[in-house]
């Protein structure tokens, strides 16, 4: 029996520590710990609700824009304002672009090195790589000379005083790597290409929102970027043409590079359909309004829950059934350690009781994370691309069923294979492909609106605080790249009285709750093989399949109650 700690767990956003018990070459128990706390909800109090999205967006720079959107929605819900149709489309395009870009970055730059042995690519025959590339995709960068150039570049790194940089000390040669070297080389080439691609595709957000990360374009009631085909400084014909070009290039890269690589690598690692199943419960708030209606039944991504891996039915979602535990988190509740609190009735008393740093191991019988433990109707829920896909699949959505069935057919896997580490990787790819098509539809819809003379991007009827209700609450749900995100805002006398966020990684990275039920990372790691505890590559595979984002996950809540926060403000 070996106890291991992986900290820092790299190639994620933020600070995650995994401790695991390894016995007989498998994980028998695991603990997920977030080791960073900032306290956004406390900073938010007393602010102007119109400013809230600017603050909230800074919860995370990888999931940039998603917190801005959830936040501005919560303010609009509380204050009671509808946004114009152009603003709806712009928000959909910004959020959809975020999915596409973020998922591709995750695949190549955060997850690929768990499956691809970069140093083995040095042994590849570039001519064979070229043949493989041309057999799976029409992507033009596929010549022997091209792959030889990539290999030379890599060789240079490995030879010039061994300055491997980001690739230094990787788990190269680990027995769990088993791609042919030629596919390793293909993936390394696309790792580099995706670095350039991600930079270009995200310019869509810069055109609609000034910049990325942290677009600066939302407003209570709409968007700030003006639309006017006759203006040099607005979203005009020229900019829309550029947006179309970028979205088309995004589609080409997804169809011709990402998806073929995903299938090639996935086919080599099919045993990972047997690991990482997790909680078996999947939650999706639903998102992407396709009309002015805010009824979730009309959303492009449907709302609902799949329980116990049962794809024959979708359980309706009720926001009031969310509750958070702090039994194993570094907070206290007035009502005691076993209490459960709805986010709108939450409570905040951060209280670090972990070992005094520097430390070797956490005391996991007690409190061991800055992430709270959200539960739905008492159950631990997984959120994210897989959850979305399963809820849509179980809802009988034709386009999703078609894509899922075709992908599973290509990999020769049954639908049950989705409940796994590999399933998460595949689901992320499928929804990227569906989204990139949807983005083009939204683009044409926006162009159509503008062509018909509809230039409105902002409803200013509730901009002035004198028009606001004296006391109101709002909920802003969003499906971000990593899953279901919710911001709750309480507006009182023109200021934020209380603010809280329960984010995708809060659900997925959650520690145990009062009943000892583990969170999704913890549950999914049980049974994961570990060939060498000193080099726990397999644990990374499963944790990375969730695409962790720790800065997002840690939040504090609390309405108008006492705060016990240790503050050592420097003079």
């Amino acid at each position: 029996m070996t106890r291991i700690a992986i900290d820092p767990l790299t190639r994620i956003e933020g600070h995650l520590r995994i401790e695991a018990q390894v016995d007989g070459g498998h994980v028998t128990e695991a603990w997920s710990s977030s080791t960073m706390f900032r306290g956004m909800e406390l900073v938010m109090r007393g602010r102007d609700p119109r400013d809230a999205w600017l603050f909230a967006q800074r919860i995370c720079g990888v999931c940039t824009t998603v917190h801005a959107l959830a936040s501005v929605r919560s303010a609009e819900d509380a204050i009671g304002v509808q946004i114009p149709d152009n603003a709806r489309l712009m928000r959909n395009i910004i959020a959809g672009t975020q999915w596409v870009q973020d998922h591709v970055i995750h695949f190549y730059h955060l997850h690929a090195l768990d499956w691809v042995d970069v140093m083995a690519a040095l042994r590849a025959d570039p001519a064979a790589t070229s043949r493989i590339a041309q057999s799976i995709s029409p992507w033009p960068k596929s010549s022997t000379t091209y792959f030889k150039g990539v290999q030379d570049r890599l060789r240079h790194l490995s030879q010039s005083g061994a300055q491997l940089g980001l690739f230094q000390n990787g788990y190269w040669g680990h027995p769990a790597y088993h791609l042919p070297p030629e596919v390793d080389l293909l993936a390394v080439a696309h790792y580099l290409e995706a670095l350039e691609w991600q930079r270009d595709v995200i310019k869509v957000q810069a055109m609609l929102g000034a910049k990325n990360p942290h677009p600066q374009t939302y407003l209570l009631g709409g968007m700030s970027v003006p639309v006017d085909p006759a203006s040099q400084v607005s979203l005009n014909d020229e900019r829309l043409a550029e947006q179309l070009r970028l979205l088309q290039e995004a589609k080409t890269f997804v169809d011709q590079v990402y998806i073929p690589d995903l299938l090639a690598i996935g086919a080599a690692y099919k045993e990972w359909a047997n690991y990482g199943a997790g909680t078996g419960n999947y939650l999706c708030y639903g998102d992407f309004p396709v009309s002015g209606s805010t009824d979730p039944k009309t959303f492009w991504v449907p709302r609902g829950i799949v329980e116990g891996r049962d794809l024959s039915r979708v359980v309706p979602f009720d926001e009031r059934k969310i509750g958070e535990f702090i039994t194993h988190s570094w907070y206290t509740y007035d009502a005691g350690e076993g209490a459960q609190k709805h986010p709108s009735d939450g409570e905040t008393t951060p209280h670090y009781t972990g070992p005094k740093p520097p430390y070797d191991m956490l005391e996991t019988n007690g409190k061991y994370s800055w992430v709270k433990a959200p539960r739905y109707d008492g159950k631990a829920m997984e959120v994210g691309p897989l959850a979305r896909l399963l809820v849509a699949y179980a809802s009988g959505r034709g386009d999703v069923r078609k894509s899922v069935d075709a992908t599973l057919h290509a990999l020769n896997l049954p639908p049950s294979a989705l409940f796994s580490t590999l399933g998460r990787v595949v689901a992320r790819g499928i929804e990227t492909q569906l989204m990139v098509d949807k983005l083009l539809e939204w683009h044409y819809e926006l162009v159509d609106n503008i062509g018909r003379g509809n230039l409105s991007v902002h409803d200013g009827t509730r901009w002035d605080p004198s028009t606001w209700p004296a006391d109101s609450e709002g909920w802003g749900p969003h499906e971000g790249p990593r899953g279901s995100l919710g911001h709750w805002m309480h507006v009182k006398d023109g200021a934020v009285a209380n603010y809280q966020a329960v984010v995708p990684t809060t659900w997925n990275a959650s520690p145990r709750d009062a009943k000892g039920i583990p969170g999704p990372y913890e549950a999914s790691l049980v049974g994961t093989p570990v060939a060498d505890p000193e080099r726990p590559l397999e644990i990374l595979r499963t944790v990375h399949s969730f695409d962790p984002c720790m800065a997002c996950a840690v939040h504090v809540t609390g309405p108008d109650r006492k705060l016990v926060v240790r503050v050592d403000v420097p003079v």
Partner: protein
């Protein structure tokens, strides 16, 4: 030095000529506000055989500054980390985790002591447990790694001055790196996030001249923070003509008139956004119809909010008002904390050209 530098050969392999390489160096000289005659010096520096080791630490941050650096175009991120520097530690991107990652850090701090560059993203909280990596407190790690570095670059508002974690009520006692670890050679690149173009330019400056760029009193390089946004804003002529957008989405807003009345903080903010813009020159906040929030100024989250309130009434506001007069009015109007900054800003304005000239002579 060698003639067939890897950068040059790698650029050549991708179809770039020697002339194009020098063109790239010329473009970088422009970003750094240096004369074109510096291009050969930059080219020579980039041909160094051994790339300098760089350690990128993140503490109480959001990884937005890393993402922003991934968006840099000239040089691109791959060129930066494969051809110009050796990015030996960066938790968001590095292959190893856990013990193997800790070894990467130990090797650099031990073997390259006094020679490597540290980059810090995120604020430093005080108090145990608010931010630990590998079981160690952020402050402990920052002291060791930055204390043994040749130079440290603080990227973004959080590492520079504390950012939003230090905003009222500062729940974790967060502060910027320079305050948390005093006495180290450091340059601050504030912004929320930092503009990746300025990160790349700072590296190129260091590689070329062997030291950090000249800064203002707030530790910000003059090449990127030497001017008020207001002074280089594309909408400045509208301000001078008294042409303002009055409400969102009105005709004046669509025509691109000045956003001062909708809360723009450009008149008090030092940053090169209007010149380099963002995402390869695609746009910037004012270009997208939204006022500047002043994210490169210390404590802007508290000092500049509510963000949609216009800057305080300024004497002589409107026609024929100069930026200097606006700046002076703000110092009078906003109390002690802001006044301190205003004075510093005025000093920087006055001496910026001189300092720049001196730097060129020294180089």
């Amino acid at each position: 030095m060698r003639d067939d530098s890897w950068l040059l050969t790698s650029l050549e392999r991708r179809g770039a000529s020697r002339k194009a390489f020098l063109g790239f160096c010329g473009a970088m000289a422009a970003t750094l506000a240096l004369p074109g005659s510096y291009a050969p010096a930059i080219a020579e520096a980039l041909r160094a055989v051994r790339r300098p080791s760089v350690v990128w630490l993140e503490f109480s941050g959001c990884t937005g500054c890393t993402e922003s650096t991934l968006r840099t175009e000239n040089p691109g991120f791959a060129e930066l980390v494969l051809d110009m520097i050796s990015l030996d530690y960066h938790e968001t991107l590095m292959a190893p985790s856990g013990k193997a990652a800790e070894r990467s850090l130990r090797d650099v701090v031990g073997d390259e002591k006094g020679k490597y560059i540290a980059v810090v993203e995120g604020a430093i909280p005080t108090g145990d447990g608010y931010c630990t990596v590998g079981g160690r407190n952020a402050l402990d790690i920052a002291r060791e790694v930055c204390g043994n570095a040749a130079a440290t670059i603080a990227v973004g508002a959080c590492a520079s001055y504390g950012g939003w974690p230090a905003a009222r009520p500062n729940p974790t006692g967060a502060m910027g790196l320079g305050q948390a670890v005093p006495g180290i050679p450091i340059v601050n690149l504030p912004g929320c996030p930092v503009n990746g173009a300025n990160v790349a330019a700072t590296f190129v400056h260091y590689l070329t001249f062997g030291r950090l760029p000249e800064t203002d009193q707030l530790g910000r390089p003059l090449f990127a923070y030497g001017q008020l946004i207001h002074d280089s804003c594309e909408r400045r002529a509208h301000y001078d003509a008294g042409e303002f957008a009055e409400t969102w989405d009105d005709e004046a807003h669509r025509k691109g008139w000045c956003l001062y009345k909708l809360g723009c903080k450009g008149p008090t903010t030092h940053h090169n956004c209007p010149i380099v813009r963002w995402n390869g020159g695609t746009s910037w906040p004012v270009g997208a119809g939204h006022g500047c929030i002043g994210c490169s100024e210390p404590q802007f989250w508290d000092a500049n909010s509510p963000f949609y309130d216009r800057l305080p009434n300024v004497p002589g506001f409107g026609l024929q008002t100069t930026a200097e007069e606006v700046g002076a009015g703000i110092v009078i109007g906003t109390g002690a904390a802001f006044a301190l900054h205003g004075v510093a800003a005025a000093v920087v304005e006055r001496f910026a050209p001189l300092q720049h000239g001196e730097e060129e002579k020294k180089a």
